[in-house]
């Protein structure tokens, strides 16, 4: 079965500094991987997805993620954090017809 691990439950950065949210996956075959963001009292929004095309995936709002098979990782990055990036971020692996979510990483952005 597929699974994901998000190594940090909470990450705090200053506005304008880089963001790194870490994700490792476990999969018996080439996975489909996603990052979703959840703002307070709002639904989940897709940031980006990897489906065995380019290993560097660009998403919305300046986020990108790199698929590294040798490290079984799919870390999410952004060069410069904005206050509006403060939210909960979920790394997701597709397992058959459904999605398996990681526990989430809460990103705080300090002024």
């Amino acid at each position: 079965a597929q699974s994901v691990t998000q190594l940090d439950s909470h990450v705090s950065v200053s506005e304008g500094t880089p963001v790194l949210l870490r994700c490792n996956y476990s999969s018996s075959y080439s996975p489909s991987l996603f990052w979703y963001v959840q703002h307070p009292n709002k639904g989940l929004q897709l940031l980006l997805k990897y489906t065995s095309a380019a290993t560097l995936v660009k998403g919305i709002n300046g986020f990108e993620a790199e698929f590294k098979k040798s490290e079984t990782s799919f870390h999410l990055t952004k060069p410069s954090a904005h206050m509006s990036d403060a939210a909960e971020y979920f790394c997701v692996v597709r397992n058959g017809q459904n999605f398996v979510f990681g526990p989430g990483t809460r990103l705080s952005v300090l002024p």
Binding site: G43, L44, L46, K49, F90, N98, V100, F101
Partner: protein
């Protein structure tokens, strides 16, 4: 183009009661999945409906059941509610035949069981 919609937004029920939650998928989508998100946790897959049948099911008891209608909308039913059923229930829609199969989520229904 409306996205995924869910009703009601909030719901308060008493232990032992039954509840029905509703979901309308994004236009053009034929597959609906339901997730339970407990406070401070990631969503957990309950089940998925495609062509009016349950296609895949997560590790949830039979108290959780669902239905998909010919217009692709769906209902989630929970019987004999427990305090532990209090959570945000998310509906997601997708295109069943799509290889990428990304899912679009609704805003959720927050269920409180007292």
């Amino acid at each position: 183009d409306a996205g995924v919609t869910q009703s009601p937004t909030h719901l308060i029920k008493t232990r032992g009661q039954q509840v029905t939650l509703r979901c309308s998928p994004k236009s053009g989508h034929d597959t609906v999945s339901w997730y339970q998100q407990a406070l401070g946790q990631g969503p957990q897959f309950i089940f998925q409906y495609y062509e009016e049948e349950e296609r895949q099911r997560g590790n949830f008891p039979d108290r959780f059941s669902g239905h998909q209608f010919p217009n692709y909308s769906s209902e989630l039913n929970v019987n004999a509610l427990l305090l532990g059923d209090s959570a945000l229930y998310l509906c997601a829609s997708s295109l069943g035949s799509s290889r990428a199969n990304e899912q679009y989520f609704g805003p959720g229904t927050r269920l409180t069981v007292t």
